[in-house]
Amino acid sequence: MSNIIFINCDEATAICNKNQYREASFWEKLKLGLHIFICKKCRQFSKQNTILTEVCNKHLHKCEDEHKLTKKQKEVLQTEVVKRVK
């Protein structure tokens, strides 16, 4: 049974993950804050989760290099399309 105020570690980590994208609601953040105050493991998880987010923001970039089809692939594709146009 999930409590209105006290949540378990499963729920706490789920809210913590949502909060990494700033999409946790006010109540969720409140419940998370309270849980973290009393739960050492989740406190540590939360701290590490913030680091994980920083690592991702630092190192994961939108792939800059454009992906392109090769000339050969395009030729094949063109032939296939034109065949079906008629």
Binding site: V55, C56, L77, V85
Partner: protein, 189 residues
Amino acid sequence: MSEKPKHTLNPNNWVGAHSDYLFNYTITRVDNSELAKDIVQETFFSGLKAQHNFRGQASERTWLISILKRKIIDHYRKINSAKGKAEIRVNFYEDGDKKGTWLEERVPKMWDNEAEKNIENDELKSALDSCIKNLPEKYRIVFLMKNVQHYETEEICNELGITASNLWVIIHRARHQLRKCLEDNWFSK
């Protein structure tokens, strides 16, 4: 009401004008170039069959993209149904009395202080990349759409045909797996 000049379709030019754009669009979503190529081809074929439905209100490319999106969703649904819906809870945590608490092997370990501070490291980047490669495909797609392409939750849900709670379960699992992987390969003392 004045009619806007209508757009037209010119299938003979599709490959030259749109194939790279569609391919690039697809590959950032399916992460497999062979598959992306096939999906682009299917999009063109479907476009040819559906030419009579083209009303000329949108540009040729926009129209093709809307077909492509359906194809990507179809692909995504295929993966999703093959492996069971993501809605079920994963057993990160014990059942019974201790329901909702940490499993012994999942408890966060202490991380090395130095490693925590040193997140600019290039080797960390490659560790992260390989951890992400190890994620199951459908987790990886959603995680990358959220973290790299910064899509809104609603957009991802629409595009992939999943619910918001479904999305958060996927993100939850992906991040747990990623956290564990980086802990084992990088942050552990």
